[in-house]
Symmetry: C2
Subunit: 152 residues, 2 copies
């Protein structure tokens, strides 16, 4: 029994890693044709969905540390894809926006990415629902473990 459990655990962790890697690799391939990296494309997407967002909220939304996102934004600003402003009424925060050029890159790369992923459309929707449900359960469990862990 123990052996069985151990093997499955290993299998589960690995498969998540593998799928995530493949998704990310594809996104990176797409985006590098448009002169940006995978994370940069993901950042542009997040900025489109939440215009005028600040850096902290953006980092939280992307599940990254704010120091990481600070660097990503820096390179995007240098590439003139993102506009970074400090509003006069509150000079602590940032306001981040896509530039014209940023929107064009996003549109091109994102539509190419979605086109390449369109092959996933003929997967069984019911099976996918079960899968997503299982993911949510796993997420809940892991978050619980993590939080208990941090209280020690």
């Amino acid at each position: 029994m123990n052996t069985n459990t151990e093997i499955e655990l290993h299998e589960i962790v690995d498969s998540f890693r593998e799928v995530k890697q493949l998704f990310f690799q594809l996104m990176s391939d797409m985006s590098c044709r448009f002169g940006v990296t995978g994370i940069q494309l993901m950042t542009l997407k997040a900025l489109r969905d939440r215009p005028e967002i600040g850096l902290g909220d953006l980092a939280e939304h992307m599940r990254l540390g704010s120091s990481t996102v600070s660097g990503v934004i820096d390179r995007l600003v240098k590439a003139e894809l993102v506009i970074r402003e400090r509003p006069a009424n509150n000079r602590r925060v940032l306001v981040l926006k896509l530039s014209e050029k940023g929107e064009q890159v996003l549109q091109g790369a994102d539509s190419a990415y979605r086109q390449y992923l369109s092959g996933l459309n003929d997967l069984d929707p019911e099976e996918l629902q079960v899968m997503l449900q299982a993911h949510r359960k796993i997420i809940k469990k892991l978050e619980k473990v993590r939080d208990e862990n941090h209280h020690e």
Copy 2:
């Protein structure tokens, strides 16, 4: 329809990213108590499962570039957890082994990691099987897309 598909795609990609992140975060938390990083623990695990493996095969097994693994091994050798040797009969390759100290760290960190993940045991095995099956289908699709992609 289109909107529906798009939303689900986003949801799917995100959930993989999220679960993978949580697994990795937990592994990192565990391993840092034993003075190693998450990747270093994963490397020690791989070396236990395949003793005497070379760097190239190790990288392939871990789905990383060999230049990345070269650096990881370098730090593990410096920490005296791994032994790196060039056999006399073929000085091109490396032979990597766990040191005594490496085995101790691995044992401690890995058992702690598995203990923390034991909460996943009471998930429905059938549901997990469906999930893993879905993962395999997605992997197959994505690998196909990737390979077609590289031929262009």
